[in-house]
């Protein structure tokens, strides 16, 4: 029963969602199922929050290794929660929008949370540099082609690329580096991406059918036999 009910729900919901694409009368049902998911997700949020507090609370209580990080996590969680729930410093009072300008919640978001997120995102620039360094080492034929393509694209997007090949006559304009960069992006690169997309679409169809038909049950933690 524990396994048959989820399989039945998957079958019904999956079939209705497919039908809702092709049959307009079933569209509303498809939308309703999506709303059901959102409702379940809201309840699950309490589970997530509870889990966070329990794990870090335990670590703090037992003074486990790196307990200081847990303290920071819990402080951040509760300060944001209290500032949002009680709308502290909110000029419009308890009935106003939680993210009203001037509220403590909004200030914490703008002045602490956002800069921290931006800092993490900024790390990407350094990681791109280190990853590119490894990827573009011409160890073999494929890596050499990648290196050349990357060099052309990088150069084609800078004024130097325009300047370096502007002397090439208009009749051979494809050989100008900026045009070559555009060609690489719109022809071989796009073709490769589309091939991947077609494969993904087919993979999604196949996987969805396996789930709907109950052939794939690993997500329920059971073997398929």
């Amino acid at each position: 029963m524990k396994r048959q009910v989820p399989l039945l729900i998957t079958l019904v919901v999956g079939t209705v969602l497919i039908l809702s694409v092709f049959f307009p009368p079933a569209e509303r049902l498809g939308e309703d199922f999506s709303i059901f998911f959102d409702i379940i997700a809201v309840f699950a949020f309490f589970l997530g929050g509870g889990n966070l507090v329990r794990i870090h609370g335990n670590r703090l209580y037992k003074k486990n290794k790196d307990w200081a990080f847990s303290l920071v996590t819990l402080l951040g969680f509760f300060i944001m929660l209290i500032a949002g729930l009680f709308k502290l410093g909110n000029p419009g009072g308890i009935s106003a929008d939680v993210a009203a300008s001037g509220s403590l919640f909004q200030m914490l978001y703008d002045w602490i949370f956002n800069p921290l997120g931006a800092t993490m995102y900024a790390l990407l620039a350094f990681y791109v540099a280190s990853a590119s360094y490894r990827a573009f080492r011409a160890k073999n034929r494929e890596a050499t082609i990648l290196l050349i393509a990357a060099f052309i694209i990088l150069l084609g997007r800078t004024p130097l690329g325009v300047y370096a090949t502007s002397w090439i006559p208009e009749s051979f304009s494809l050989l100008q580096i900026p045009n070559l960069a555009i060609w690489i992006m719109t022809s071989p690169n796009l073709a490769g991406q589309r091939a991947i997309m077609i494969g993904i679409a087919l993979g999604v169809i196949s996987m969805s059918l396996r789930l709907i038909l109950g052939v794939e049950r690993t997500y329920l933690g059971v073997d398929n036999e």
């Binding site: 694409v21 049959f23 169809i205 059918l209």
Partner: protein, 415 residues
């Protein structure tokens, strides 16, 4: 007695000329730009209104939209005199029209989605100019109706039917015990080796199922793979660490791992804290996972699911701690990052095929074979499309032009 200052006649003439010139320029610059403003008594030019306004039921929907079309005003010539079109709606017998939309000049279509099925509606369109409106005639009455089938998606339905039919056929085919050849996928072959390495090193395994929720098929694919990985982990008695960014993923992953431990006959070794919720916020999650990687130094990292800008940050951190990394996603933009930073990458469809491949079950492998039929069809269609488009563009020829147009038409999804 002082002498009165005298002004020479010549200076008077010059001064008068300057004053005249100044007023002339002032008048021209301020009032001559717009004749409608410069002379309030002059007749105001009223532009031609839009014509031939017709309303019709939006096809193949639930009867919740009406399509309004019209011919452009004759003065909509691109000179910015007409600033756009306002579309008004009224009930069948009511003359009180309410504004339902505004479109830019040169547009002659509006789909009104705020209508109710079974009611009558009429429309009129006004060309907006200089803060005023020039109204069209009132359109015909229209009643939105619900259609049973969306015929616009017939092409998609047929393609889906062929692929789904092939998948079901090959599943049934495999059930009968026919042998199927499936190519080797290096990333999946390496899973056991990666888990073995963690066992030898006595370090944990980190499993990241992406940052999407359970309504994303990539996350489901990641969780199905987690089931396989967890089984080996349970057998080898290694620690698995799974920080997640969605509460629903947390509950699903817990169930999956718990069942795997149960299946391995070691339910006592299972612990709820193997899967823990961190945050829904993308970069908050990345910061937490990077911290876990640096502190706990897992021997193996799995990144299987939907990833976005965080993909490279995670994979490069994993690389820096020397972990063996297996990644898989169906986000084409993130694939290059994983390919560069990870040891093995499941590219797009391989992620969805992974669970079936690892199960080695005929039914599941049959579904992969059915997928190949779809690929074969795609190849044929691409070849026909490329040949017809190239030939028709280079040499013309009615047959190839028509074939090319036909291919474009049947593979364009209209909604």
């Amino acid at each position: 007695m002082t002498d009165k200052p005298t002004i020479s006649p010549c200076l008077k003439v010059i001064s008068a000329s300057f004053i005249f010139l100044f007023f002339n320029i002032f008048n021209q610059t301020l009032f001559s730009q717009n004749p409608l403003q410069s002379n309030q008594s002059a007749p105001i030019y009223i532009p031609a209104p839009p014509t031939n306004v017709r309303a019709q039921d939006f096809k193949y929907d639930r009867g919740e939209a009406v399509e309004v079309r019209w011919e452009l005003s004759a003065d909509d010539t691109g000179s910015n005199f007409i600033t756009g079109y306002e579309i008004y709606r009224a009930g069948e017998k009511s003359d009180s029209f309410i504004l339902v939309g505004f479109v830019a000049p040169k547009n002659k279509l509006l789909i009104d989605k705020n209508v109710e099925r079974g009611k009558y509606y009429r429309f009129k369109v006004a060309a907006s100019y200089d803060g005023r409106l020039s109204y069209s005639e009132i359109s015909n009455a229209v009643t939105p109706e619900m259609d049973i089938i969306n015929w616009n998606l017939l092409n998609l339905f047929l393609v889906g039917l062929i692929v789904a039919g092939a998948v079901i056929y090959f599943i049934a085919h495999a059930k009968r015990g026919k042998k199927l050849f499936i190519r080797k996928i290096a990333g999946l072959e390496a899973i056991d080796e990666a888990i073995g390495r963690a066992t030898e090193m006595g370090r944990p395994i980190l499993f990241i199922p992406g940052i999407s929720d359970m309504d994303d098929v990539q996350t489901i694919a990641g969780i199905t793979l987690l089931g396989r990985v967890a089984k080996v982990v349970a057998d080898y008695d290694i620690k698995i660490n799974m920080p997640v960014s969605r509460s629903l993923v947390m509950t699903t992953a817990r169930e999956t791992i718990k069942e795997a431990y149960l299946g391995a006959g070691r339910p006592d070794a299972y612990n709820d804290d193997m899967v823990r919720y961190v945050t829904d916020e993308q970069f908050g999650y990345v910061a937490a996972v990077d911290g876990i990687m640096v502190r706990e130094k897992p021997a193996t990292c799995f990144y299987l699911g939907a990833f976005f800008a965080e993909s490279l940050i995670l994979a490069e951190t994993g690389n820096s701690i020397g972990a063996i990394q297996i990644a898989g996603t169906a986000q084409p933009a993130q694939l290059p990052f994983f390919v560069v930073a990870c040891d093995y990458t499941l590219i797009g469809e391989e992620l969805f095929a992974a669970s079936a491949y690892l199960s080695n079950e005929p039914k599941q492998l049959g579904s992969l074979k059915g997928q190949d039929v779809g690929k074969f069809l795609a190849m044929i269609v691409i070849i026909i499309g490329v040949v017809s488009a190239t030939v028709s563009h280079a040499w013309g020829g009615e047959f190839f032009i028509k074939l090319s147009e036909y291919m474009q038409r049947i593979f364009t999804i209209q909604n």
